[in-house]
């Protein structure tokens, strides 16, 4: 298994090797890993990678998955153009 060829976050091109390196440096939550690797910051907003990474965190740290927190969900639910919002806001 070549960890540099396994994609964990496809929006931001983060591989399993990248993830393991940061976990080894001591970052053990989705939130700090997100800030340093950009996992979950792309268009899918962790809807694709979130649970995958949560499971990998648990397995790599040898913890039950219930002890790793899911990622924080933030608005918006899906991308929308700023001008569309501005137009509606003016009404």
């Amino acid at each position: 298994m070549d960890k540099t060829k396994i994609m964990m976050c496809r929006c931001e091109d983060v591989t399993l090797a990248d993830l393991h390196q940061k976990i080894d440096e001591g970052y053990h939550t989705f939130e700090d890993l997100k800030r340093l690797l950009r996992i979950g910051m792309g268009p899918c907003q962790a809807n694709t990678c979130g649970h995958l990474i949560q499971r990998e965190l648990a397995s790599y740290l040898k913890k039950p998955v219930t002890e790793t927190r899911p990622h924080k969900s933030r608005p918006v639910i899906q991308g929308i153009s700023l001008e569309a919002i501005a137009k509606e806001a003016k009404k």
């Binding site: 970052y27 933030r74 608005p75 991308g79 153009s81 700023l82 501005a86 003016k90």
Partner: protein
């Protein structure tokens, strides 16, 4: 020196202070943070670093900090990069009052060695062609201002501190401070009790509460400031575009996304950092007015973070007069990230009880507010 130093808060101020004290030979430094790495205001900020300020204090702190950022990767021997992008801040004047104020600001900035200049509307449009020419009168520009990655900058200090033996305790919350004989003697957290010789409050949004634990009334409060980010696109805007009167800052980060924020008027004081549709409506309308092209982009995420606001919108980097060993770095009013290198340097000057080579320390002292109700306020703030 074998004094034990406790720093409360591992945001940019806390890690910079830890680095500076360790570099000067302090051996027993513990940094407490109640959350994860960069969970507070640092990790939520707009990633801008500028030197165009309206007060001498802020200009000096910002310029000296920028000189550090320019060499941060090498100085801190960082195994990554802090992503400094110096393509300037373009600050728009949209009222006659701003035109006049900004001219004075540029004179002040130039006198302190900051290479800012006044631009006509046409010159500004050459730098950012997609500006709406009807939305502003003139502008000021400083080419060495720009962008810096808050997570990476914090990690660079954090790793440098770790290599020098600084002990970082994340997910450990300070619950109380024991004070006796005008000194803080113990830090009590949810995980243990620590005997200490020096305590430094770098708790950002929660610095007032940490002051209260030591019986020190710090005249700061916290306020939610919201921000949003768009999808990444090809490089189309060099500088941060900012307007105080229109209430907007907006820049394209190296990754390609546009980050933008504004102040929500009449925001209640407190620790709420949630996202609102009111912000989204106002932000979208503002950016569409000033830069219609950017309105075509889709936003992907919004969030909030705390500004810790002081009475004159300038930092408090100070020892508490009433206690011999309790220090604070707070009240940055939204700009703690870009001033952090000097925060660490000045805190080291205070702790080693020597005059600072950066600035007259009384300018940043908490004592400056005592008995005063009117202040020389920094107006160059969004």
């Amino acid at each position: 020196m074998n004094r034990r130093v406790a720093i409360i808060g591992a945001g940019i101020s806390g890690v910079s202070i830890a680095y500076h004290l360790a570099k000067e030979g302090m051996k027993d430094i513990i940094v407490f943070d109640k959350g994860y790495f960069a969970s507070g205001a640092t990790g939520r900020c707009g990633a801008g670093v500028r030197q165009q300020w309206g007060t001498e204090t802020n200009c000096i702190l910002a310029k000296r900090s920028m000189e550090f950022f320019e060499k941060a990767d090498e100085i801190l021997e960082y195994d990554d990069t802090v992503e400094l992008k110096q393509e300037g801040y373009l600050i728009l004047a949209t009222t006659e009052e701003e035109v006049e104020d900004f001219q004075k600001n540029v004179v002040l900035q130039n006198s302190l060695g900051i290479p800012s200049r006044v631009l006509t509307k046409e010159e500004a449009l050459e730098i950012v062609p997609h500006l709406n020419p009807d939305a502003f009168i003139s502008a000021t520009f400083c080419p060495t201002d720009g962008h810096l990655n808050p997570f990476k900058m914090t990690e660079a200090y954090y790793k440098a501190g770790q290599r020098m033996g600084v002990d970082f305790h994340f997910f450990e919350e300070v619950l109380s401070l024991t004070v006796s004989d005008n000194k803080v003697t113990e830090v009590i957290t949810d995980k243990g009790t620590y005997t200490v010789d020096v305590v430094i409050n770098a708790a950002g949004g929660y610095s007032k509460e940490i002051g209260d634990l030591a019986g020190i009334n710090i005249p700061v409060y916290s306020e939610n400031h919201e921000i949003l980010v768009t999808e990444p696109v090809e490089q189309l805007q060099g500088p941060m575009v900012m307007s105080f009167s229109k209430n907007i800052y907006c820049q394209q980060v190296p990754h390609g996304s546009f980050l933008m924020g504004r102040t929500t008027p009449n925001q209640p004081k407190g620790h709420d950092i949630s996202s609102s549709w009111q912000f989204l409506d106002a932000m979208s309308q503002t950016v569409c007015e000033i830069m219609p092209l950017i309105g075509k982009l889709s936003l992907v995420r919004q969030w909030g973070g705390s500004y810790n606001i002081s009475p004159d919108h300038q930092p408090i980097i100070s020892r508490a007069e009433e206690l011999t060993n309790f220090y604070m770095a707070c009240g940055f009013s939204g700009h703690g990230f870009m001033l952090a290198p000097m925060t660490g340097e000045i805190m080291a000057d205070l702790i080693f009880n020597r005059p600072s080579s950066v600035i007259d320390l009384s300018e940043l002292s908490i004592e400056r507010f005592k008995g005063k109700t009117e202040f020389d306020i920094e107006k160059s703030v969004v």
